[in-house]
């Protein structure tokens, strides 16, 4: 495109054209209208307000469950918001936007089509002659470095080459907006780095006519090293927590101090409650804006993070060995855990009141310290006490079982009311986690093939 792309948005009031805009968009998946009155459907995205301007590289960063992929699909027009509206150049958008192309995490290649045919898919619906189509497809293949692979089938290619096909298919339509849904997360580290670099080169040298890029990722390093603007999403329901300006291009390299600081800051933001975030921002990044300052509606129900107890134990013992207090960013580095894997663990320890997060530090509570020092049996007892006191779903199950005749209940009993608060899948996931935790605490047994809960007889629950 001919417009001068301004890649560094140091001042967010620059009068660059707004390409895409979401105005107070929410998305909820209701259970086919079967919800009882007064219960609001499970919100996936809550009043999202964002705009993408010409020349921008925007990163959407969020933990799993924050609805970032849903947001991307909503912006692309694949799904329609439940309330609110998406505008493309001030026109309301209904249905898939032809000026948007998507690169998928799973590559989403047709296994039965060759590389060339896969790339041509993007052009099938356009009024082109076969020769024109072939020419443009070959040009895109050329651009992305796939020469010689035109007749190969996707299964003959390595992961990196497959994703190149994904990029070629997106670029061949010359989209004004290029959307990428975790495009590098299925690739190994070296391949991902290589592909990132090449993509950035194409973008900065304007070899492709794309006017703005939206990257969805859970990798903080990736977002910091690529984006002009970073939106941090929060989960349950998905909402924009913070909007941060990216680093100047020169400072985006991985070794720089500015880079490390920004990554650390985002790490702290993602692991802290909303109140602390505002404190963090005022001290460390004055240009940042907190997203609309909408406090999430208090969820009527605790949301259990889906983690295995063994991992929680491991984390607590590790931090205890390091003196009971540790920087979360360091823990992540040390354990080589992505934020996506670490966050649920932190939430779980927080929920069980075994640890707190203070300004990005992970601090063990008194119970946490005792837990770390305990032997196997005592550990279970401590865990049982904590679960019963702090986890309402587990407590509810135990109480219901105590009241039930013969202390036996079918899973449907709990699923029904969970489904009113969560979606169908999430309800099952919540129950599965509660089953795992309850089994570990020896509070109740669950027979999978019959779908029945039974109260554990010996080991009466500790008094709360």
């Amino acid at each position: 495109m001919t417009q001068s792309n301004q890649h560094i948005v140091s001042d967010s009031d620059v009068a660059a054209e707004v390409l895409l805009e979401a105005r107070v968009c929410s998305k909820s998946y209701d259970v086919e209208g079967k919800l009882p009155k007064g219960v609001s459907p499970h919100l996936v995205l809550d009043s999202i307000h964002l705009s993408i301007r010409s020349g921008e590289f925007v990163a959407l960063l969020g933990p799993s469950g924050s609805g970032k992929s849903t947001l991307l699909r909503m912006l692309a027009g694949l799904i329609q918001p439940t309330t609110g509206q998406v505008y493309f150049k001030d026109q309301p958008q209904y249905g898939p936007n032809p000026h948007v192309a998507i690169v998928f995490q799973s590559f989403a290649l047709f296994p039965w089509l060759t590389v060339l045919q896969n790339v041509e898919i993007g052009l099938e619906s356009r009024p082109l002659t076969p020769t024109q189509r072939l020419k443009r497809a070959l040009a895109a293949i050329d651009l992305i470095g796939l020469d010689g692979f035109e007749d190969a089938y996707p299964k003959e290619l390595s992961g990196g080459m497959r994703q190149r096909v994904g990029f070629a298919r997106a670029l061949v339509v010359e989209p004004e907006l290029l959307f990428m849904d975790e495009p590098f997360s299925a690739l190994d580290v070296l391949t991902a780095a290589n592909l990132r670099k090449e993509l950035l080169a194409l973008w900065r040298e304007q070899t492709m006519p794309t006017r703005a890029i939206l990257l969805v990722t859970h990798n903080i390093d990736e977002a910091v090293s690529m984006a002009d603007r970073i939106l941090v999403l929060g989960a349950n329901p998905g909402r924009i927590r913070v909007e941060l300006p990216g680093l100047p291009v020169a400072q985006r390299s991985f070794q720089g101090e500015a880079h490390t600081n920004l990554v650390d800051l985002i790490y702290r933001i993602m692991t802290s409650p909303q109140d602390d975030v505002e404190k963090l921002l005022t001290t460390q990044s004055p240009q940042a804006k907190t997203g609309q300052l909408v406090q999430p509606a208090q969820h009527p129900f605790q949301v259990l993070p889906h983690v295995a107890i063994g991992d929680v134990t491991g984390l607590i013992e590790l931090v205890h060995a390091r003196g009971g207090r540790e920087d979360l960013y360091q823990i992540g580095r040390h354990l080589q855990l992505e934020i996506d894997d670490l966050l649920p663990l932190v939430e779980a320890t927080d929920l069980l009141s075994l640890a707190d997060v203070e300004e990005g530090d992970f601090v063990l509570t008194e119970e946490g310290k005792r837990f770390a020092e305990a032997g196997v049996l005592e550990e279970k007892q401590l865990f049982r006490a904590q679960v019963l006191e702090h986890v309402s779903l587990v407590r509810k199950i135990v109480q219901a079982l105590q009241a039930a005749p013969r202390h036996v209940l079918p899973e449907e009993h709990f699923l029904q009311f969970l489904e009113a608060h969560f979606g169908k899948e999430e309800a099952q996931a919540q129950l599965d986690t509660a089953i795992n935790w309850g089994r570990y605490a020896e509070l109740y047994a669950f027979q999978e093939d019959r779908g029945m809960f039974r109260l554990e007889e010996e080991g009466e629950p500790a008094p709360t």
Binding site: P92, G95, P96, I102, F104, F110, P111, K155, R162
Partner: protein, 609 residues
């Protein structure tokens, strides 16, 4: 044998489809060994085959257009066999084409229209449990009345009867694939704004291709099984006979001409083997690229015929000069028929429910009303026929159903008793499974009905002759499904579990109980489900047979239905309908109460992830 379950597990499909391949590491990958295309011997061969096919179709067409001859005199001399085989093959092909069109249309509608689906899938479930003979009166009466002066009505009836033994499982398979399209590929199709027809060609058809081909092979086996029943039939005092392999076999058995029976049987087996080599193998090898799994490796099915066709210059030329331009022309028409919606114009059916009367809504209502009216009329006629059935008849029909049920049970138990040990032995030995699978596959596709007369000669004079013989026919027709599945299941038992049982000295019955039976359980249930449905359908040709110019029958639901259709001077329609309904109810209830539950249990407990 229109009941075939589609294994979801790609391993089962692979093992069954890729049967003839063996591990060959030095194999050249397909497509890399292409020689430059020059006209050669293969092209001449392809050309001759096409010419032969065209002239045969012309010959067949003249027979079709000839004046009506309800019962052709069947010539038992060997010289007519190629012609008869050709007639039968053409009928099978037409029946298959009809099944394919039905499958694509019905499956597509059922998969995309929620409200239609709620009605269409149960209907399909019922249709597939209705035996071929029950379709007979309606089909014949309608078509012979429509073409009173030429053979075409009769030929079409035969084609439709074949269709009823082929279509249903294919439709189920296609519907199932349509419902389980990969989500990311659907999103690509949406964001690329593919038109419905492009989406169908690029996404829906390819992703259902493997299941469709696998079920097509099963359908052909089902079609051959009922070949005799669909080429010669009696309706009241009128009997019809069409020239073909099926009626040849029937006539040979009827006159007790053992030589002719053997000759006909050989021709049929030869035809099946040739079809396998020249049609199904190439098709399976070609369809290998439609696997959804991204991993390469493993055995790729290969076919010399496909390689030859791919190298043929003639095929390439025709493809370039004829098929591509036709394709482009059709694409242009379809593009015009399905214009792309504007992305920034709100579609009418969004937001507030639309109260205006659009042509689409009116059309929908008209279709719904017509369907409801037809259903009501059908019900009315059904009720009128059914009130003629006395309580006594109902009772005897029910008793007959119990007899048939016991027979199917006996057939299944005998089948399990020999196929499980044999299948496990074959499946656990890589050498034997590789060698025997293709053999089993061809043997399984030989229709038991054609072999039946030979067994009848031996069995019919024993006490309770046909009663045992009919169990044998059910067994012959259905044991292969169990064997297939058991072999596949035994092959899928992981090596580490087998090693673990060896290390801990688990052997004998305990090994069967802890490892082998749980390991093959899902496969066994799939096989049993298929076998049970097949046995019920086979009852109609096994409990009531015409042989050496007289009719034999044994108490059973199949016999009751067949006898009702053959009542002179007019078929006993009320009993025919009642028997059919009873059979449908039995099969559907058995499926729902027993097999589907076992299947769910197998999926939940015994699936090796």
């Amino acid at each position: 044998m229109a009941q075939v379950f589609v294994p979801d597990d790609p391993r089962v499909r692979d093992q069954i489809q890729g049967g003839t391949t063996d591990v060959d590491l030095k194999r050249v990958p397909p497509g890399r060994s292409r020689r430059p295309r020059r006209f050669g011997f293969i092209d001449l061969l392809v050309f001759l085959v096409v010419i032969a096919a065209i002239s045969f179709i012309v010959a067949a067409a003249t027979r079709w257009a000839a004046p009506l001859t309800p019962a052709v005199k069947i010539d038992l001399s060997p010289g007519v066999l190629p012609l008869y085989a050709g007639y039968s093959l053409l009928r099978m092909l037409l029946g298959y084409l009809l099944s394919l069109i039905f499958t694509l249309v019905y499956g597509q509608i059922a998969a995309t229209h929620r409200r239609a689906e709620a009605v269409m899938i149960p209907i399909l479930d019922i249709l597939q449990s209705i035996p071929i003979l029950s379709f007979l009166p309606a089909v014949i009466l309608a078509l012979v009345a429509a073409f009173p002066h030429s053979n075409i009505g009769l030929e079409l009836s035969s084609v439709i009867l074949i269709f009823t033994s082929q279509a249903w499982n294919m439709t189920f398979s296609f519907y199932h694939s349509e419902r389980t399209l990969p989500k990311d590929l659907q999103e690509v199709a949406a964001i690329s704004r593919l038109r419905p027809w492009q989406r169908f060609i690029r996404l829906e058809l390819p992703s259902s291709m493997i299941g469709l081909i696998w079920n097509s092979m099963m359908s052909w086996a089902g079609g051959w099984f009922f070949l005799i029943a669909s080429e010669q039939f009696t309706l009241g005092s009128r009997s019809f006979q069409l020239p073909g392999l099926g009626s040849y076999l029937f006539a040979a058995a009827n006159t007790g001409n053992t030589g002719a029976i053997l000759l006909g049987l050989t021709t049929l087996i030869l035809l099946i083997v040739l079809l396998d080599f020249f049609f199904w193998r190439p098709l399976v090898a070609w369809a290998d690229k439609f696997k959804i799994e991204m991993s390469s490796g493993g055995d790729e099915p290969r076919s010399p015929v496909l390689d030859a066709l791919r190298r043929s210059a003639l095929v390439a030329l025709v493809n370039r000069k004829v098929f591509r331009p036709i394709g482009a022309f059709l694409a242009a028409i379809l593009d015009r028929l399905q214009p792309l919606p504007d992305y920034n114009v709100a579609p009418p059916d969004m937001g507030q429910p639309d109260r205006t009367i659009s042509p689409r809504r009116v059309a929908g209502w008209v279709v719904a009303i017509v369907c409801a009216a037809l259903a009501l009329i059908g019900l009315w006629f059904m009720v009128r026929l059914l009130i003629q059935v006395s309580l006594k008849t109902w009772g005897s029909l029910f008793l007959a159903a119990i007899f048939t049920w016991l027979r199917t049970l006996a057939a299944i138990i005998i089948g399990v008793a020999w196929t499980v040990p044999a299948g496990v032995a074959i499946g656990l030995s890589p050498k034997w499974s590789r060698r025997l699978q293709p053999v089993v596959q061809v043997v399984a596709s030989i229709p038991a009905t054609a072999v039946f007369p030979i067994f009848l000669v031996a069995l019919v004079n024993l006490p309770g002759g046909l009663s045992w013989a009919s169990i044998l026919l059910m067994l012959l027709g259905t044991q292969w499904y169990i064997l297939f599945n058991v072999i596949a299941g035994a092959m899928a038992i992981p090596g580490d579990l087998r090693e673990a049982t060896t290390i801990y000295h688990i052997s004998g019955w305990r090994k069967w109980r802890t490892l082998i039976l749980p390991g093959i359980f899902p496969y066994l249930v799939t096989g049993l489900l298929t076998a049970s449905g097949g046995a019920w359908n086979a009852s109609i040709v096994s409990e009531y047979v015409q042989f050496n110019n007289h009719t034999l029958s044994t108490p059973g639901l199949g016999a009751s239905i067949a006898a009702a259709a053959a009542t002179t001077p007019n078929p006993n329609y009320p009993t025919l309908l009642a028997g059919t309904l009873l059979m449908a109810v039995f099969v559907v209830v058995l499926n729902r109460l027993l097999w589907k539950r076992l299947y769910r249990l197998a999926e939940r407990r015994y699936t090796l992830a």
